[in-house]
């Protein structure tokens, strides 16, 4: 379908690769591509990095109830719908009347234009994404941590290994399968973001938080350029496919399988 020019109502015209040529010169498309890639980079590293950090932290807690409580607390946002999350933050992050800015100003920090400046809107969207998803990755890392046999730590203790050595030589290498899986999942997910931006900023201010899927949605169901939107979908698919294949290839080098 990406090879046709089609407005959904009349018959489609075959246009060959024209859609793709047009795409490569479409400034807006390139902007959304850049936004999506940057979002994927920050959201993935935030989610996966923080998720691993929190999981290692939770795992080192001795009290069982606190462990269970924290695990639940981090996981709850994951079950809430993105729309609700976005609406809620939209309210809390308002520039002049929002609660967050009020408390920041009490701490002597100037009001932050969370949603009205391009740079901050982008950061806000990433932050909210991390708030919502970090619990999921924490859970995956916790499962990975539980799979590490305790004998390894005992052996390391006998050999006189300190906390840091145990962390860098046992925990992290044995977590690489979880890390790999998380990176793949997070990246695929991040390239498809749509809902939080759609609800919170509608792509703005300007096009600062417009992503490929948002543009695709607008082209297909706002302007009925079905063929053009389909060609965006094809480009997006190939990017995701290539990234995943690359990750799997590179993964063989650094992931430690027992």
């Amino acid at each position: 379908m990406s090879l046709f020019d089609w407005d959904f109502f009349s018959d489609p015209d075959y246009v060959g690769l024209d859609n793709f040529i047009e795409l490569s010169q479409d400034k807006l498309f390139l902007t959304t591509l850049k936004n999506t890639a940057l979002f994927a980079l920050f959201a993935t590293s935030g989610n996966v990095g923080l998720g691993m950090f929190i999981a290692i932290g939770i795992n080192s807690i001795k009290w069982r109830w606190l462990k269970a409580y924290l695990r639940t607390a981090y996981f709850i946002p994951f079950v809430i719908s993105t729309v609700v999350v976005a609406l809620m933050f939209g309210f809390l992050l308002q520039e002049s009347t929002g609660v967050v800015n009020y408390y920041l100003s009490r701490l002597g920090i100037d009001r932050i234009p969370w949603l009205s400046s391009s740079a901050w809107a982008f950061r806000s969207v990433v932050l909210i994404d991390v708030w919502k998803h970090v619990g999921f990755f924490t859970l995956i890392f916790l499962a990975g941590l539980q799979a590490i046999p305790g004998e390894l730590y005992e052996a390391a203790l006998v050999d006189g290994a300190g906390r840091r050595v145990r962390l860098t030589r046992i925990t992290i290498p044995l977590l690489t399968p979880s890390l790999f899986f998380s990176l793949v999942i997070a990246l695929i997910g991040a390239f498809q973001v749509f809902e939080s931006m759609f609800v919170l900023t509608n792509g703005g201010p300007g096009d600062a938080t417009r992503t490929v899927v948002m543009l695709l949605y607008r082209e297909a169901f706002g302007s009925f350029n079905m063929g053009y939107a389909a060609s965006m979908a094809v480009v997006l698919f190939f990017i995701i496919l290539m990234l995943t294949v690359t990750q799997v290839r590179l993964g063989d080098r650094w992931v430690f399988y027992r």
């Binding site: 609700v84 609406l87 009347t97 009020y102 859970l139 949605y217």
Partner: protein, 255 residues
Amino acid sequence: MFIPLLWAASFSFGQPHEFFKLPPPVIPSAIRLDNYQGVFERVDFLRFFLNSVFVTGCVTVAQLITCSMGGYAFARLRFPGKRIIFILFLASMMVPQHVTLIPVFIIIRGMGLYNNLGALIVPYAASVFGAFLLKQFFETIPDDLEDAAKIDGAGFLQIYWRVMLPLAGPPLATLAILTFNSSWNNFFWPLIFINSAEKMTLPLGMIYLRGQDGVTNTGVLMAAIVLNLIPVLIFFMIFQRRLVEGVTLSGLKGT
């Protein structure tokens, strides 16, 4: 992690003028239910809720049936091209839903399901993930059980129904919960297929409510958010263990 949720809850009881008061009151001056009334007055919230229940229920039941059948077929039956079909199946798991959006849209429209709750059910009636999950489970069931049933004269449908399904309780529960959650929160699909208010599900209904009176009536919006959160949180409390198991299970499968 809980702070934003509590804030929203606190505001949902407040009066309009309190939203702009600084410092924002942590606990509203009086517990008022006006905002909750407002939600039901402005939109047919109950209808959204029932639509969500209906769609989610249908999707979940449909997936349990199709995925267990598919999983059983891939795990136990022998048929030509099984390996290739299975690989194609897995490959399709990698294709993001937005990529297939336009073709699926055209198919659904062709079926006359546009602006119909069916449009939210049919595309989700089966899932590759679910079939894969159950295939992995069925493969762990010893062959002997099946052989015994065969000697007793059971056909494969009977084996599926009498032997396999009763054993598959835990993975079916996991699948049901994951499906329920994702279907309940689905926003993209309703956004595209539904355009009249009486067919909306909760997430889309929320946006519709916001469109009705925008930021001017934050209290009502917050009340709607709380109403939205309650069923999800109850659901979470009941199924927390299974949900956590499901996520870790699907996570470990991938490694």
